[in-house]
């Protein structure tokens, strides 16, 4: 080797060792291996096939008396127990003993009964099936340990162990899991074995609410019923009710259950008709667990225990049924349409709450009847008439059957016409059919049946008429009614609500009674008694109403045969005007009678005494004649001697004139108050029947005083206008026009 090559070789070797010594020395010293596994995700979708359920899952049977009891071997439904030697032992049942509540229901069991025990139950299973198990465990006096085995009957090995479970006294703990039934295993046993207990051999390991099976399986069965016309025919305009019955036929609770359905277009949802288990719900989306959205036609009902505004509740396996109902109406113009409704229930399995499951209902379907639509109408002519004495009246009823449907009515359809059968009717009762060969049968049971022949084509009509004669003796307001009902034969009548009709003709009285006679009257100081001559009317007088001027409503009424009325509570010395109006049985009223004016008597004043007429309560002033001379002026005087002394000039008596008005007479003299034709001065002159000596005396109860109004000068009352002056002034309620009357 040349020197050069030796140098090269040395350099290469040096480089080699440098690389070996420095280039990731640790990385060079490694080795590899692998460890792996194969896992499989559970399948929970088969819970509605080969449904498997436990018996007596929460130990509610037998129900014990008291808080603690035992079930001997064979006495507890579904369950048996054995000791470590495999010998049967009794099962200890708790029902509130020691204040410990059941996890579910009322009862639970204690595995450490007389001895540490194993409680077990066998079920028929399908190989390959994924079953779900769940239970509640609780310690009694400390941490208790229990082991669950699932496998072939009697095989409690490590291979069949589902694990050990340790729990203290703090409460119930739920455990759950799945189990795949091995090939060939058609019977599977679930065994809970007491392993250790803080309280000793006979104290510990509470167990409750065991489930083992195919999981929740919700089913929905939906049907539709015709509420308007029960039966299998559905017509436009009819109201139907959908009913969905929801059950959980699985082996564990179904969670978050939500019923959903979309109402087919063409069916009119009836607002707020949704019920859940019979309880009404509203359509509003924010007030309860049920919503209806009109835009999408969608019903959403969150159902089950604990359901609310936001989420569905739970449905217990095997024992809980929920019924959802709502109503729809079949829209017009939908003949022949078929409507299918397939609601669903979304729910969840507690082992995988995010794996939503869907229970799909059967499809509730129906077809709206398509055929004839025999609409029946009835009219009467005339509908009413005024009875004329001794005259009869013909009335004609017309029955019209119209086929509004798309198909012919079908031969053999008929109309049953019920004829009016009031007393005294005459004329042909059997209906006549015009323009066709339809035949109406003889009257039987008050009706005639008319067979529609030939069939009524779509859009066609058939008319039947009945004319009867109303007797002259008909009583007013008597109704004569003819009714008709059509029955379709050989074709479906798609609308059942318009097949019948009726019309009524009535004898009426439209003429008012004659007016009563102008009443005569008698009176007292506070009453007026009226008597009048009777009115006459074709339908009779039902009563009389008595009116008084100034009062809108009658002040009294009498029966039709009572011709007198007394109006009480009137004021003395007052004038009242009365009229009487008659009413007949048809409600017609006569014009008013003539007016009767009644003047009541003087009341507490008498016509036999004489009175001092005072004005004031202070210094006394009384009315006096200025002298006894005819034409002397009426004045006011004062002083005890004047007002209370003996003088005809201040001594006044009330005389009732023949027309009922008061005359004011001076003492024993032939002098009476006389109103002037004009001006204000009142004088005293010789008595006469002239109106200027008539005075209307009005009693003012508040001051126990009287006011005097001139009859010849209406609206002018006697008034003290100055200290010693009295004369006429416009009537008012002022005290200068009020005078007290004191017997002298």
């Amino acid at each position: 080797m040349s020197i050069r090559n030796r140098i090269i070789t040395a350099i290469s070797m040096a480089l080699f060792f440098v690389l070996v010594g420095t280039a990731s020395a640790s990385a060079l010293w490694f080795t590899l291996n692998t460890v792996g596994a194969t896992v499989k995700v559970a399948t929970l979708e088969d819970s509605c096939t080969n449904v498997t359920q436990m018996l007596n899952a929460s130990f509610e049977e037998p129900a014990i008396n008291g808080t603690l009891g035992y079930a001997n071997d064979g006495e507890m439904l579904g369950w048996r127990a054995k000791n470590a030697a495999g010998q049967p032992v009794r099962i200890e049942i708790w029902r509130g003993y020691d204040g410990i509540p059941a996890g579910v229901g009322a009862q639970f069991v204690e595995l450490n009964a007389d001895v540490p025990g194993t409680i077990f139950q066998s079920l028929t299973t399908t190989p390959g099936q994924t079953l779900q198990w769940s239970f509640l465990h609780r310690g009694r006096q400390g941490n208790d340990t229990m082991q669950l085995f699932i496998g072939a009957p009697g095989v409690l090995t490590a291979a069949t162990s589902q694990g050990s479970f340790i729990d203290g006294t703090g409460g119930w703990t739920r455990y759950s899991g799945t189990y795949v039934v091995p090939a060939g295993q058609t019977t599977t046993e679930l065994s809970f074995k007491a392993v250790a207990a803080a309280g000793g051999e006979s104290i510990g390991n509470f167990l409750d609410d065991v489930s083992f099976g195919s999981g929740p399986c919700v089913t929905v069965a939906t049907s539709v019923a015709n509420l308007t016309t029960p039966g299998a025919v559905y017509r436009t305009g009819e109201t139907l009710e959908y009913t969905s019955v929801i059950n959980n036929i699985g082996s564990s609770l179904s969670l978050s259950n939500v019923f959903e359905g979309t109402i087919p277009a063409g069916l009119e949802y009836q607002a707020n008709t949704i019920t859940v288990d019979g309880a009404s719900r509203t359509d509003v989306n924010t007030d309860d667990a049920v919503d209806y959205t009109a835009a999408s036609r969608r019903i959403v009902a969150r159902i089950g225990t604990g359901s609310g505004l936001a989420a569905g509740g739970t449905i217990a396996q095997a024992t809980q049924t929920i019924t959802v109902k709502y109503k729809v109406k079949v829209a017009a113009g939908t003949e022949g349409a078929t409507y299918s409704f397939t609601p669903i229930v979304n729910y969840a399995n507690g082992l995988a709450v995010n794996w939503g499951r869907v229970a799909t209902s059967n499809t509730a379907a129906f077809t709206v009847a398509q055929g004839a639509d025999l609409a029946t109408t009835v009219t009467a002519n005339p509908v009413t008439w005024q009875k004329v004495a001794n005259a009869t009246q013909n009335v004609t009823w017309t029955v019209t059957v119209t086929n509004n449907g798309p198909l012919s009515s079908g031969t053999g359809s008929s109309v049953a016409i019920a004829i009016p059968t009031n007393n005294g009717l005459t004329g042909t009762a059997v209906p006549a059919s015009t323009g066709n060969t339809s035949a109406c049968g003889a009257i039987s049971g008050g009706q005639s049946v008319c067979v529609i022949n030939p069939a009524i084509a779509s859009g066609g009509t058939r008319v039947f008429t009945v004319t009867r004669t109303i007797p002259a003796t008909a009583v007013f307001n008597t109704a004569y009614t003819l009714s008709a009902a059509t029955t379709a034969v050989g074709a479906v009548d798609s609308v059942a609500t318009n097949n019948s009709g009726s019309a009524t003709a009535t004898v009426v009285d439209t003429v008012a009674p004659t007016p009563p006679g102008t009443p005569a009257a008698t009176n007292t100081a506070t009453t007026a008694t009226l008597t009048w001559a009777a009115s006459t009317d074709a339908s009779g007088i039902a009563g009389y109403d008595i009116y008084r001027a100034g009062v809108a409503a009658p002040v009294g009424s009498t029966a039709g045969n009572v011709l007198t009325f007394t109006n009480t509570g009137l004021d003395p010395w007052a004038s009242y005007s009365y009229t009487v109006v008659a009413r007949d049985a048809a409600g017609n009223s006569s014009v008013a009678s003539g007016t009767r004016v009644v003047r009541t008597g003087p009341g507490t004043l008498t016509t036999t005494d004489s009175y001092k007429l005072d004005r004031d309560t202070g210094t006394e002033y009384c009315i006096s004649g200025s002298s006894a001379t005819a034409g002397a002026t009426l004045i006011m005087v004062t002083g005890n001697a004047n007002c209370n002394g003996t003088s005809d000039l201040r001594d006044w008596s009330f005389v009732v004139g023949t027309d009922g008005f008061a005359h004011l007479k001076m003492g024993s003299l032939d002098r009476f108050w006389t109103a002037p034709a004009t001006g204000t001065v009142v004088t005293t002159t010789a008595g006469s029947t002239a109106m200027n000596q008539d005075w209307t005396v009005t009693y003012i109860a508040a001051n126990n005083a009287y006011r005097f109004e001139s009859r010849s000068r209406p609206g002018q009352c006697l008034e003290r206008t100055a200290i010693a002056v009295v004369g006429l002034q416009g009537c008012d309620n002022s005290t200068p026009q009020q005078f007290t009357a004191t017997p002298r």
Partner: protein, 195 residues
């Protein structure tokens, strides 16, 4: 074809040019470097034997890790226990890892490989491997998270360490993965601990 050129008189071998010498030297050095790099980059078999280097003898060590006595791989079938969302599955018995080499080792798990058929499921699986002294494996409580990664394990020469695998299905696993099977391998890298 015959050459018509007459033979010339004998003459001295011509000296190589400087350029030629330079290429020759570079070629020899390249061969040396290549040998060095190949050796350093490593076929492990080279280190399972002795080789004479010059006048001295260098003796190499050996490394090895077995899983349940298998020098290459070990896999456990847990498919008989169905996985539920949020739940774990563990093998009944721990897995034995043993250092069968003659140097201390530090074992890491740099990667987990899923089979192609497991691609849809793999994002929803969390895999843990933890040491244990128990004779059985128990799962972690559902409410407790699994370790985010597999911690390195150190082995003395000849030491056996037992580990438990735990595989958890994510709570948000879609229902479309019901019945899906997942198979994976954890690559264990056992590296010599530098003395």
């Amino acid at each position: 074809m015959q050459s018509n050129t007459p033979a010339g008189p004998l003459s001295a071998k011509p000296k190589p040019s400087a350029i030629r010498a330079l290429f020759t030297t570079a070629g020899l050095m390249a061969v040396g470097v290549l040998i060095a790099v190949i050796a350093a980059g490593g076929t492990y078999a080279l280190w399972n034997d002795t080789a004479p280097v010059a006048a001295a003898t260098i003796s190499t060590g050996k490394t090895g890790i077995t899983v349940n006595d298998d020098p290459n791989t070990f896999s456990v079938d847990l498919s008989s226990t169905s996985l539920l969302p949020g739940k774990s599955v563990v093998p009944a018995a721990p897995i034995r890892l043993k250092n069968v080499g003659d140097t201390p080792l530090r074992v890491t798990a740099p990667s987990i490989a899923f089979t192609p058929a497991s691609a849809a499921l793999s994002p929803y699986l969390t895999i843990a491997m933890t040491t244990t002294t128990a004779t059985t494996c128990t799962g972690t409580a559902d409410t407790a998270p699994l370790p985010a990664s597999i911690a390195p394990i150190s082995f003395a020469v000849g030491q056996t360490v037992t580990v438990c695998l735990e595989i958890r299905l994510a709570a948000n696993t879609p229902s479309t993965l019901q019945g899906a099977t997942g198979t994976f391998l954890i690559n264990l890298n056992a590296a010599q601990v530098r003395p």
